[in-house]
């Protein structure tokens, strides 16, 4: 019995999901550059802050950008992309959703740039999940560290002591 021929048409898929400091787009050739790929964000608590800062009511903000690149694999048309961020405590929140027309060429697709400002009071590993048309297609972890600089008894000129929280 002859084998069923498999369709060469694959579903669109994710080829890049990266956190970085900055994302630049060349206006001439539309190429994207990812400046300083990161997997960790360091937040420093100002010396002048109260001892209980940050806390649930007063949080720090971790800012970073995320680059998502999908390839259409010939499946052009409108697709919906959404992202969910999961905190170390397991809380999840939708951080992005957009329907977009993917280009028709097999090497085409769509790029998305997310600028995130995550409010945190504890450090830990946050997960970003990417979904295409409701199906999860990728995930990426980012560690957010909160550093508390403690003033030494000898005074402000003493070397910093860093304490990573989480």
């Amino acid at each position: 019995m002859a084998k069923k021929s498999r369709s060469n048409k694959r579903k669109p898929y994710l080829v890049a999901m990266l956190f970085c400091d900055q994302i630049l787009e060349d206006k001439n050739d539309r190429t994207i550059s990812l400046i300083r790929a990161i997997d960790q964000v360091d937040l420093h608590v100002p010396r002048s802050s109260p001892e209980d800062y940050p806390n649930e009511a007063n949080r720090m903000v971790a800012s970073f950008s995320t680059f998502l690149s999908f390839k259409s694999c010939g499946n052009s048309g409108r697709h919906t992309v959404h992202c969910i961020m999961e905190s170390p405590s397991g809380k999840k929140g939708r951080v992005f959703e957009q329907a977009f027309d993917f280009t028709s060429e097999p090497h085409g697709g769509a790029n998305f740039i997310l600028h995130s400002a995550v409010k945190v009071y504890k450090g830990g590993i946050f997960w970003l999940y990417a979904y295409l048309d409701g199906k999860r297609v990728g995930r990426a972890p980012i560690r957010i560290l909160i550093h508390r600089h403690q003033l030494d008894k000898e005074g402000p000129n003493a070397p910093d002591q860093e304490q990573a929280d989480g």
Binding site: S33, L34, K71, P106, H107, G109, I113
Partner: protein, 160 residues
Amino acid sequence: MAKKGKPKASTAGPYINAAVFCEYPIEDTKDMISVIKIFDRIEAELPAGFKAGERVIMNTWFFVAAKAGDAKGKHKLELVLIEPNGTRGIVSESDLLLLGDEHGQFLRANLNFSIQAGGLYWMDVLIDGKSFTRTPLRVVFRQPSKATEKTPLASTNPHA
């Protein structure tokens, strides 16, 4: 008896977070990587006197970001170029040392490979022989008289 649950997806691994062609990846003094000018289409200028059937050397960079997840230890990462006619050839082999969890490793591969025709190429990314993703590259041959410079072009819709 309670059924065994599926393993949590967030602990599976290894997995690939990026596999892209780029003009060059830079590593700065603090070991931070920047990926400059990602592209999925390239115009290759043919050398003078080029005859159909001859091969042209392409030089490009390929960037891979791998994450460990469950995987720990040494793994083998291979890049396999698939030509428009289906011919496959390994263009890069390297060790991937994974430490588990959220840790990962970046690979910057400077590739020199010969191609015979324009068309749609694919870079298959394999870890320990298993394909994890593949990245397309449209190669367009250009006659030397028409232009002077090789220009990578992004054809994917950038969207902010």
